[in-house]
Symmetry: C2
Subunit: 215 residues, 2 copies
DNA sequence: TACTTGTCCTGTCATGCCGTCAGCTTACCG
DNA sequence: CGGTAAGCTGACGGCATGACAGGACAAGTA
């Protein structure tokens, strides 16, 4: 389905080529973690990978193109976030546990990939559809599951019909993503991780069920 | 207090100089709206302003420095967001109105300054303290007011003591900021502005008061 | 008006990154 | 061992960066 990995000039990448390519991606990932996106240069990535800029351009059209590649990879992993919601219960004590685990899982994922996610977020906010699609892919895996949860609670009459399930789920997920992206900021401001998580869980619970949690 | 506007080489900028400087800032602002941050070049800004790159460097150390300048200006305006919350009521029907107006005001502000806020957000996420400070200045104007509101409701016994007022306020504001930054994204995904706002207001209301709104 | 002073702008230059190409080296295969 | 395709890089024109010195300009002074 994905076809073979190809170089920019159309050749099929073999064993060695793929290794080089991967090394470049790894080095780019590291650079993104340590320096501002704006200052990441092709030549630096190449140097770090022990190769030349020309080699970089053999595999990627530009820095952005390579970032997209990394992001795509991460998005695949992000699809697994669905399991934080799907099949979970939103009733009684179980609902609280579901909320907590969702928040935990989400924050962990974000912390793990923060550098790339920053860039994806920027690209998406700037209106680049490719980045936006990737961001969607990750967030939707959670958003869709949450939307379903709300809808189900609505059919059971446990949540007001007026609530737009999609908007609610989307807002909650956006909140999680934003807070996750500024976790360091929160701690600097004096809010500790320990009190941040329960409050996020509380908001999730309130948003989905419309009620205070039973702990 | 702010002292005089100075050039990079220490001279005091006069009438004409300040005009040029401002023009450069304006043009930079426009460029940020129309092209990715990574691709904004000094030479383009200078050309757009009808001057030369050398002139740009007379007033700013680099693109980032100029962006900080614009952001600082915006932050001053952002301080006015406090009024969306301070002195408002969080009881009964008034609480719902307060929530709605907060969401409205916030989204408007973000839409107005979206380009520059994107960059500030990125800088803050990357750990740049200067950008982080600006982001704080804007968000705190709302966060602090909201924190006070929660604390007041807590002393009246209307909100659980366990809730961390700061964390709750911070999370809600982060949500608003994130959703605001991806407004276009939401509409693309099929969530209309009309249903987005009430749901955000609902979440704000739930988060602050812990109860469903009375409309 | 001519002169002086300090602000303001730009031409120019060395430096460094970008992105491409031709050509060399390496690996694989019959 | 030759052929073929993959893999890599030196080299190059082009462009942005950032610094400087010097010229243009406005305003005050005699």
């Amino acid at each position: 389905m994905t076809g073979q990995v190809r170089t920019v000039d159309g050749r099929v990448a073999g064993r060695r080529g793929q290794a080089t390519r991967q090394k470049l991606l790894d080095c780019l990932g590291e650079m993104l973690s340590s320096s501002p996106y704006r200052d990441v240069k092709v030549i630096d990535v190449a140097r770090k990978a022990g190769t030349s800029p020309a080699t970089f351009y053999q595999y990627f059209p530009d820095v952005e193109g390579a970032v997209l590649e990394i992001a795509e990879e991460m998005a695949k992993e992000g699809a697994g976030l669905t399991e934080l919601v799907s099949g979970r219960s939103w009733v009684g004590k179980a609902a609280w546990q579901t909320s907590e685990e969702l928040v935990d899982g989400f924050l962990d994922f974000w912390r793990k990939h923060d550098a790339i996610l920053r860039v994806v977020d920027l690209g998406a906010a700037e209106g680049d559809k490719r980045f936006y699609k990737i961001r969607m892919k990750i967030l939707n895996s959670v958003t869709n599951s949450l939307t379903d949860a709300v809808k189900e609670l609505q059919t059971k009459g446990k949540v007001d019909k007026e609530v737009s399930a999609a908007a609610m789920a989307g807002s909650l997920v956006a909140m999680l993503a934003s807070v996750a992206g500024h976790q360091k900021g929160f701690t600097t401001w004096g809010v500790k991780q320990a009190e941040l998580k329960p409050n996020l869980a509380l908001l999730v619970h309130l948003g989905i069920t419309g009620k205070k949690p039973v702990r």
